[in-house]
């Protein structure tokens, strides 16, 4: 904006800045509240006095009351499994759509795009039946399987692959590369930013996913941390809010810390993933 505008509208600017900050304050308030509650003894969970003693006791109690270590392990296995499978499947499919001519290509692409609208999240009843048939109920694999072929990923990567100059592709072929070697040596390295963007979106999506894991798992060995948190806070053990809030922060901490550390990459990745 030019200085002319900002001078002429100095007072609206001030008002807008105030509004922006008020909204920002409103937006962090629930989180600040949760942090306050988690780090103070229960009797201070709703009393805001500066002299309230800080404590990690709530976290310790939450950690002891439920197998969070196992839940974390399950979630890490889950997001890794989903991501690795997605990266492989999505790369191959996007390469096919971007650079190969074959009958049925458009129909198949349309069939892929169907998943953008009808996500596995709403097909819970039938997917549960399928998992029962396959004997995979209550496994981490069962949580991951419906999400491994991702229409969003195929779409995103196809766009990226399409703008790779054909000359690079042809040069590699002249040197005797097979199509898979071309993919590995030319396309994949050039699409690195897209991969990073997609990976961040995927990891945060599956770290946070809840309903399907809730349905398909029922043991400590397979529950991800979101479901573990719900089981923990829903059981009526007379837990006070400070402990539940501590558990809540605990289960989001890895992602939240990663987000705060790599803020810029996160935001840019989400941006990149959103531009179509």
């Amino acid at each position: 904006m030019s200085t002319m505008v900002s001078q002429r509208h100095g007072w609206t600017r001030g008002l807008e800045t105030a509004a922006a900050w008020l909204l920002g304050l409103l937006w962090v308030l629930p989180l600040v509240y949760a942090i306050w509650t988690a780090f103070h003894p229960a009797e201070f969970s709703t009393r805001f006095v500066l002299s309230a003693p800080l404590t990690l006791d709530n976290f310790a109690r939450a950690w002891e009351a439920a197998p969070f270590a196992r839940y974390f392990l399950n979630t890490v296995i889950l997001v890794t499994m989903v991501l690795v499978a997605q990266l492989v499947l999505v790369t191959l499919a996007a390469y096919a759509f971007a650079r190969f001519e074959f009958p049925g290509r458009n129909v198949l692409f349309a069939l892929v795009l169907v998943q953008l609208m009808i996500m596995p999240d709403v097909l819970i009843v039938e997917n549960y039946r399928t998992m029962t048939t396959l004997g995979l109920k209550d496994t981490i694999l069962a949580i991951a399987l419906p999400y491994m072929a991702s229409a969003f990923g195929i779409f995103l990567l196809r766009q990226t692959f399409k703008v790779v100059p054909r000359e690079l592709d042809e040069a590699a072929r002249v040197e005797g590369c097979t199509p898979l070697q071309v993919l590995w040596k030319v396309y994949v390295p050039l699409a690195r930013p897209t991969y990073l963007a997609y990976a961040l979106v995927s990891v945060s999506y599956h770290w946070n996913n809840f309903l399907w894991p809730l349905i398909i798992t029922n043991s400590v060995e397979s529950r991800p941390v979101t479901v573990g948190l719900q089981v923990f806070s829903a059981t009526d053990q007379g837990l006070d809010w400070s402990v539940i809030t501590a558990a809540t922060l605990l289960s989001t901490a890895p992602l939240l810390i990663a987000f705060l550390l790599f803020q810029k990459q996160f935001v840019q990745s989400f941006m990149r993933a959103g531009i179509r």
Binding site: M1, V5, H9, E16, T17, A20, W21, G24, W27, V28, L31, Y33, T46, V88, L89, L92, A93, A96, F102, R105, L108, L111, V112, V114, M117, I118, P120, V122, L123, I124, V125, E126, N127, Y128, R129, T130, L145, A149, N208, N209, F210, L211, L214, I215, T226, S233, W241, I244, T245, T248, L249, S251, L255, L256, Q263, F266, V267, M271, G274, I275
Partner: protein, 291 residues
Amino acid sequence: MTRTTQWIYGWLLLLPAMALLVLFTHYPAVATLWQSFHSTPKGSRSAVFVGVENYEQLASDDVFWQALSNNWWYALGTIPLSIVIALLMAIWVNERIPGRGVLRLAYFTPTVLPMIAVANIWLFFYTPDYGLLEQFLGLFGARGHNWLGSKSTALPALMVVTVWKEAGFFMIFYLAALQSMSPHLAEAAAIEGASRWYFFRRVTFPLLMPTTLFVLVNAVINAFRLVDHIVVMTRGGPDNATALLLYYVYEIGFRFWDTAYAAALTVVLLAILGLVALAQFFFLERRVHYQ
């Protein structure tokens, strides 16, 4: 490479992804339709063809109609509001506002939290008697309301959570679009003496149209796809006041284990999502220019 090798490569590369898509998206969508015309198998009795019986049950099921209407109001209450807030946020953090980095972070943070954690935090926020909201209202002598426990306020209370969670996510897309806009436009407008509001109305907003539509479609899908907070905060209550369609599917399918009826309900959900897809395809894509 000959044409046939091209074909074979194309198909083989696509095969693994396509197989999984068929197994977990296309097949279940079709199977849902199929199951919705059958009965729920009970014990040794297997499912039998019952025609439209499940749909007749659906038509006379008050809870279904309530869930549908809840979902409608939920969508109407959350989507426009989160889009407007997202747009405001994006415009603010795109400008040289003091503390821009911090603000951007504040707006975006709810997006990275799991809905289930968000729901837990807000559940406490809304707690009768000693929750933060009640304490705050108490300052004005207006306490004593059970926000999630009364029929008139439970759904709006959930909508607030959704808007809080989603606005920052949508902001990112607007921010991306704003940053790709040429700064010359604003400079030219300033020289011409256009007001900020005029510039927004006549230049920024029209240019953001593709983003708005993209966000809109995503918001609509989310309104029908995301019910995590319902599970945590209200379980559809009180008296079904917060039962959304997918939550009702979950309840019928996995708490009452009436899979055939759940299939019929899912068909309605799929039909709604299908309509959104068609609307996007026929109505929106033609008017919006993607690069």
